[in-house]
């Protein structure tokens, strides 16, 4: 079976974020980057399915030239080849335009299954997989915790709220958005890293795919949130902070 995994490169979780002069994104020169965490789980799910059923895993990524590192990592972990939609500012496409880019590139490969993480760590829309499914006319399911492929289609375990789950079945091809924690992530082996260098990375542009960025975007500006609650910050050395906090919890909050 042929599986496409849509992955995104995001700014490292630990990076301190500063709004850039445009007011619509953050300063990312010099920032560290990593694969969007839920996408790492989607990639792992794809690699495990390939090992069970034989086939091919294609990593699909829309992003700037620096995203090559994330693509290279996916290849080192075991993806067979990759498609890089090179776009310096993917944000300018908005969520619908970006999903169009990904869907167009995916469609040409006629995959049996498309996997992606349930949401991104930066914009956090949580919509890309579902929009792709609609654009491609495919069934989908979201927040998936288990995937079993059978002769007739795919059976998944979908996470509901408050500790509930549900199984559902659907025919292939289909799109699934994968929840973090569905599996245990593998590390790239030295052999994998070596092999990745010779794997194919197909480069495409928005123009190749015939997708244009929308004239206006809904997002106006980004900014640091205003603090709504007055937080009492406890200062001092660790020992002083600890003593002060325990004293507050004992005599003011009275919970100890």
């Amino acid at each position: 079976m042929r599986i496409i995994v849509a992955i995104k490169q995001v700014i490292s979780r630990d990076a301190s974020l500063r709004v850039d002069p445009t007011g619509t994104w953050v300063e990312d020169t010099g920032a560290g980057f990593e694969i969007n965490e839920p996408d790492a789980y989607a990639l792992e799910a794809a690699l495990q399915l390939k090992e069970q059923h034989v086939g091919e895993v294609i990593a699909l990524c829309a992003g700037p030239a620096t995203a090559s590192q994330t693509i290279r990592d996916a290849l080192a972990k075991g993806a067979d080849r990759a498609i890089h939609i090179e776009e310096e500012d993917p944000g300018r496409f908005g969520m619908l335009g970006l999903s169009r880019l990904l869907a167009k590139a995916a469609e040409a490969e006629a995959p049996d299954l498309i996997l992606t993480g349930l949401q991104s760590d930066d914009f956090g829309y949580g919509q890309t997989g579902v929009i792709m499914a609609e654009l491609l006319g495919l069934p989908h399911s979201t927040i998936i915790m288990q995937v079993e492929v059978s002769a007739t289609g795919v059976r998944v375990k979908r996470e509901l709220e408050d500790g509930w789950f549900q199984h559902l079945e659907m025919p292939l091809p289909a799109v699934l958005t994968i929840q973090s924690g569905i599996n245990k992530l593998r590390y790239a082996t030295l052999m994998g890293i070596k092999k990745a260098k010779s794997k194919e990375v197909k480069r495409l542009t928005a123009a190749d795919l015939g997708v244009e960025a929308p004239a206006v975007l809904a997002m106006e500006k980004i900014y640091a949130p205003h603090r709504s609650k007055q937080t009492v910050m406890i200062e001092g050395t660790a020992k002083e902070q600890a003593a002060k906090l325990i004293q507050i919890l004992r005599s003011e909050v009275r919970v100890l």
Binding site: D122, S141, L160, G163, L217, L249
Partner: protein
């Protein structure tokens, strides 16, 4: 020209948001329901979407039904609660209408909608541009349900034309994994741990603190994903929603998915190395510092 609120059970916040937006934009507010559970709120119309193919939720069925309703009613703004179910179908519905869904909105300011980026570290303003309908999903807790203006609307049945062949997924009944051994909702003190703990072997440190405080131990999602603590100890939108007297968040940055599960706590204390971490937005008391220094000091202080 109207507001349409799509309701599931227990999302009175969406109703409050719709009424508020209706006032701000001077538009009548309608609601759509899938179950005969009529909201007791002041509404112009309530559409009860009824069809045997809607008895159980499917993304295909709900999308087709709401597409038909939206084309008929032609609302200016459609608001959804930001639930897992909405996350499953609303982006599909928006795409079918050739629109974008502004998801996970935490605040409505007239035609400006505020949502969070980077796990709550930054906010972003979105404005309603282009042609109606505009679609947005509202985060639980963004609005207080007390703000609802009461009323006794009469529902109107809306029967969309659906055929079995439109529904491609076969859902099975929801189930719970093994019975929960821990009921965090009953705890009055919770010590909760997040990514900042770095390694599994460090969890013992937090366990010692919980013991010294007589508190239950809980965690944010990544900790349970790694199996460092069992899933049943997870607090947040996919875990338990708690409201203890004291919630001590250690090394938890405070993504919205976690905050919705604990912000009802009476007193919130946060310990985090990043003074800008969003957890401090909801904390009553904060310590910006290294948990590996502060937590041992707390244990020592408690055991004195």
């Amino acid at each position: 020209m109207s507001i349409l609120a799509i309701l599931e059970k227990n999302n009175r916040e969406t109703l409050a948001a719709a009424q508020d937006l209706g006032k701000q934009l001077n538009l009548p507010v309608n609601a759509a329901i899938f179950k005969p559970d009529v909201p007791q709120a002041k509404l112009e119309k309530v559409y009860h979407l009824r069809h045997e193919l809607l008895n159980e939720y499917t993304a295909d069925g709900y999308t087709a039904a709401l597409e038909a309703l939206i084309r008929k009613v032609q609302p200016t703004v459609v608001l959804f609660p930001h639930t897992y179910q909405v996350r499953d179908y609303a982006p599909k519905l928006a795409t079918r209408l050739n629109r974008e869904l502004i998801s996970d909105v935490v605040q409505l300011k007239g035609e400006t909608m505020v949502r969070q980026l980077f796990q709550g570290k930054l906010n972003a303003d979105y404005t309603l541009k282009g042609e109606a309908p505009h679609l947005a999903s509202i985060q639980a807790g963004a609005y207080s349900a007390d703000q609802i203006e009461p009323g006794t609307p009469t529902p109107e049945i809306f029967e969309p034309e659906l055929t079995a062949s439109m529904i491609r997924t076969k859902p099975q009944p929801p189930f719970r994994e093994a019975q929960r051994a821990v009921d965090l909702t009953a705890a009055d003190k919770i010590v909760s741990v997040g990514r900042g703990i770095k390694e599994e072997s460090n969890i013992a440190l937090i366990e010692n603190l919980a013991k010294a405080m007589g508190a239950e131990i809980a965690a944010s999602r990544p900790i349970c994903d790694n199996n460092w603590l069992p899933m049943e100890r997870q607090v947040g939108s996919s875990g338990q929603t708690v409201a203890p007297k004291l919630y001590l968040a250690i090394g938890i940055s405070g993504a919205i998915q976690h905050l919705v599960g604990m912000k009802g706590a009476k007193t919130i204390v946060a310990i985090n190395k990043d003074p800008h971490a969003p957890i401090f937005e909801v904390a009553d008391y904060g310590i910006a510092g290294d948990l590996f220094e502060v937590v041992p000091a707390l244990i020592e202080e408690l055991n004195r």
